[in-house]
């Protein structure tokens, strides 16, 4: 009974999360082998009109709503596809409203004492795209970003739980000889533990 239940949960949840598990594993592979591929970035700059005097840091901190209204206004005005990330202040008076999505970053850049602005869109090359897809999370932005973050979290949790439920399912199977399984499991666990300890204490 318990065996059947765990088996079904393990199986059916894996079938639903399968694409995200593959995405996680695939992007990790491309990150590890990033020097195999070229990594070109494409930057486009569109000029617009709009003046903006950024408040001080403490004003932003105490007036989050006003900050969101500003970023929302420019997102809609310039049809920016991405979620608001941050405000960036430069020493020379430039001020950026930054939006990101996996594979691209858009900045609406204002200049001190000027009523012109630039919308700078940077499309990442393959390496950075893989890195961003692998690391893109947090429950912020619209529904699509929230679902993405939820699936990423579920896939991460599943990778831990599947190892445990997989071992349990194997252990409860009625087999005559588990020696080979114990050898593989033991050597894998020992190697992993040994590597972690070695990397932690090695100088």
């Amino acid at each position: 009974m318990i065996y059947k239940l765990i088996r079904r949960v393990h199986l059916y949840s894996a079938l639903v999360l399968g694409a995200f598990l593959l995405l996680y594993a695939g992007t990790a592979f491309f990150i590890f082998t990033s020097d195999w591929y070229p990594d070109n970035e494409a930057v486009t700059v569109v000029q617009g009109v709009g003046a903006f005097t950024p408040p001080t840091g403490s004003e932003w901190a105490t007036n989050r709503e006003a900050a969101r209204a500003v970023e929302e206004q420019y997102r809609v005005q310039y049809g920016i596809h991405g979620r608001f990330q941050t405000f960036a202040r430069h020493n020379d008076g430039r001020f950026d409203v930054v939006y990101r999505r996996p594979g691209a970053e858009t900045r609406v850049r204002f200049f001190a004492g000027s009523d012109s602005l630039n919308v700078i869109t940077k499309k990442y090359g393959f390496n950075r795209l893989m890195n961003r897809v692998h690391n893109f999370r947090w429950y912020e932005g619209g529904p699509a970003y929230q679902i993405w973050a939820l699936f990423m979290d579920l896939a991460s949790l599943a990778m831990i739980l599947y190892a445990v439920s997989g071992i349990w399912l194997w252990y409860t199977l009625k087999v005559h000889n588990r020696s080979l399984g114990w050898i593989v499991l033991g050597s894998g666990a020992l190697y992993t533990m040994g590597s972690i300890v070695h990397l932690m204490v090695a100088r």
Binding site: L11, L15, P102, V133
Partner: protein
Amino acid sequence: MPSALGIYLWWQRVAERRVGVWLLACGSGGSLVLILHLVL
């Protein structure tokens, strides 16, 4: 590798295929649409 083997083992069990195919199709299709929507 374990994912591919898991799908192969599940495919061998005909009785579980109908529900599984729907879950796999919805899960993969939905994930693909979501990923393309955010990336493109």
